[in-house]
Amino acid sequence: MTQLEYLNIGKPQPRIDGMAKATGEAKYAGDLKLPRMRIGTLLGCPHPHARILNIDVSKALTLPGVKAVATGMDIRGQKYGPFRSRRDETGLALHKARYIGDPVAAVAATDEDAALEAVEQIWVEYEELPAVFDAEEAMREGAPLIHEEYRTNICAHRGFNFGDIEEGFKASFHVREDRFSSQGLSHGALEPRAALARFDASGKLTLWTGTQSPYNVRQDLSLVLGLSASRIRIVKPFVGGGFGGKGGLSAHEIAASLLAVKTRQPVRIHLTREEEISITRLRHPMSIYVKTGVKKDGTIAAQYVKCIANGGAYASTSLMVAYNSGLTFLIPYRISNFSYDGYVIYTNRPVSGPMRGHGANQPRFAVECQLDMIAADMGLDPSELRLRNATQKGDTSVNGLVFNSCELSRAIQTATRVSGWNQKRGRKEANRGIGMACGGFVCGARAGSHTASSSFIQVDEAGGVVLSSGSSDIGQGSDTTLAQIAAEELGLSPSDVSVISGDTETTPIDPGTFSSRVTFYAGNATLQAALEVKKLLAEIAAMYLEAPAEDLEFKDHKVFARGVPEKAIPFSKLAQMAVGFGHGRSIIGKGQWAPQNTQFPDKNTQYGNVSGAYSFSAQVAEVEVDTQTGEVKLIKVTIADDCGQVINLLGAEGQAEGSVSMGQGHALLENILFGDRGQIMNPSFLEYKIPTALDMVDVSFHEVGSPDPCGPFGAKEIGEGLIISTVPAIINAIYDAVGVRIKELPVRREKILEGLSKS
């Protein structure tokens, strides 16, 4: 779709940190070492719900090698959490523990063996309390309260009412009501979380941590420790994947910090996989009730949705999940009468939090499956039904979302054409099926606190360019994307740009990596910084080229007046003249950016344009079902994606392929199993199965976007929006293959066989 000629934008760009990672040189938090470093480890509560009567650490402290023990009593500040209105965590439990594994204490010792031995010698006296594990049970009157101060286990409730659903259902030709459910999932980033804390003689705390949001971690750590944020520095080394899991402040970061303060020695804590799965965050298990009415032509007349999610013991980002689960309905399709109730419920289970798609995945699965069921009821082609409802450019949704760019119709048409939809649909080959689903996603929802991204760019006297961005590359490749953006504007190659990112002391403020916001926000901030640098350099170049500064072009490492490329100054020469002996100036550009057209959703009505742009996509999945064993094999996924102007084609394809793989896991393989005391029964990769190389799916990726007016070079998001439609596309393909409708995730073989025996 590229209309303009770019040097770097839209091209496949190998990542700038690729060789550091390929050679093992890249250091992750758990690889870092400091002199006199101590190793920390956590102690978890063995009960699902218990009052902590006493913690006796005296024996542990006498063991050889043990340097310090920290408990909830050491936390002097207030509780923390991503939402000001619901700060309910202390990291190390204070007075009460709320799930099996809830950290209650931590030890620092000279080595890991000593630390592990010491945690077993911490004697905690508990008074067990009645516990509740099921969300709908926890909602009932009289259920044990997880957090007494809120007087209810309803952690979050968001309601939307737009148009008139009563009238809408009355005017409907066909109405369906269905219940769907989605399981708990683990992010499965290959790097378990790790952090290294140092408290120096000046009273400053430095925490190197594998995080998605250094600035947010600093803010919350400041609250918990009662230490001014200006005395805390958070540094993000290389991060081994996040997918939402490494977003907020975590118990091990608090524990390492407390122990470093106590011992005045550096303390590192590296979670085990078991801890990573059990005591960080999970995707919300959710029940979704959808009632949809359509007119005779298939257009949606009314929709009512109720979502009930199990939030586990602490709020994390559940307030946002309760909103996002409703929001997702109003992005890809035009719905004028819509009503929604979304609940996230506290229970005595491990904590649910943000994970790629952030509350959109579960309801998207429900509604995309139900649309197919409606299409089947009415004898319509599912792709045609979607086309008739598709959001169009220029639309404003009933809840105020403004769609300045949208190519969903083109995405549906492309996906059907390229995948061979018409030739393959309707079981043309035995036990093979094809299914479709659509989706749309925000490009960074308006955050309640700090929301803008910022960048600095400095040019040195040799023409070297250093970009400093507060954003976090956690593996998705944002450092490379930002380098491409800066390089494009300055007429350089991405490899000419050094990127420093994710450090609260050396990079400017940025909320971090979540809500699929980095390219859109930090990309624009970087573009702005690059434009300022360009302006400063152009003023100087203009004197030598005898042309107005605004007529100068920066291209191929040179600067010249438009139309006169033969009379050019090399970029490095210009830098030397500007910074070095010629003019002696500082060439520094700064950018800070947030979209102007967004609002926080209204407290009462939930009306408001929460994002500066929205991505759209259509996906077609092809599966083969073994009718003897019930096994489903995902063969191919075709994606037509409107992510605006692609910046890095290699990165975009990587996000698409990774999303398909994670969606495949969600639909077919992964399932966090909870025991009768709410404990996780499969906290390892042996039992919690993520896709392997043998599960690899053929992914056919097609860009169908047009540049968004607000995005940097017209770019939108691609990190989160795609996974949400992979799951329903697979489920719809299973139906096409064997006529079995799955409404509970993950797909289990016995469900397929049971369905087959009925048909």
């Binding site: 690729g18 390929a22 063996d113 290959l190």
Partner: protein
């Protein structure tokens, strides 16, 4: 590194062993219950091998011993004395990356990079053994190395392109 807890205090005394790592011989004193992964990371500062699970189920700790990919989190260091060990750091020779390292970068086979060292070493063992493996054989050979970012497509592509690249 919970997997190393067995016998933790019983063998406190160190033991001198010889390890042959990345073409060099070292004498180290270690506790006998230490895994190869712990020794490589703690004694040699070779942190390219990662711990992703500690149970031998993710492959992030893969290194080559006598050319074979092994899970260093399940291998005791004392068991690989005097056997040639190659870690990811040993593949980058005299400033020259191995063809697999180059193709992984160029094909976009790396995202977060945490699985990359193990993945490249498993691929190297395969290519050292077979000249022209099929895509399916590549998938098979890498099936013990988990990757959560890429969906494996670009990893398989990178191995194929390294096959065509002169070393």
């Amino acid at each position: 590194m919970r997997a190393s807890r067995l016998g933790q205090r019983l063998f406190m005394s160190g033991r001198r062993i010889w390890l042959h790592v990345n073409d060099e011989e070292y004498e180290v004193e270690i506790e006998p219950h230490k895994t190869l992964l712990e020794v490589l990371r703690e004694e040699f500062d070779l942190t390219g091998a990662k711990e992703g699970c500690g149970l031998g189920s993710c492959g992030a700790c893969t290194v080559l011993v006598e050319g074979e990919p092994i899970l260093s989190c399940l291998t005791l260091a004392v068991d690989v004395q005097n056997k040639p060990i190659v870690t990811i750091e040993g593949l980058f020779k005299e400033g020259h990356p191995h063809p697999l390292q180059r193709s992984f970068v160029e094909e976009g086979a790396i995202q977060c990079g945490y699985c990359t060292p193990g993945m490249i070493l498993s691929a190297k063992a395969l290519l050292d053994e077979r000249e022209n493996p099929s895509p399916n054989e590549i998938q098979e050979a890498l099936s013990g190395n988990l990757c959560r970012c890429t969906g494996y497509n670009k990893i398989v592509k990178a191995v194929q392109s390294a096959m065509r690249r002169p070393s």
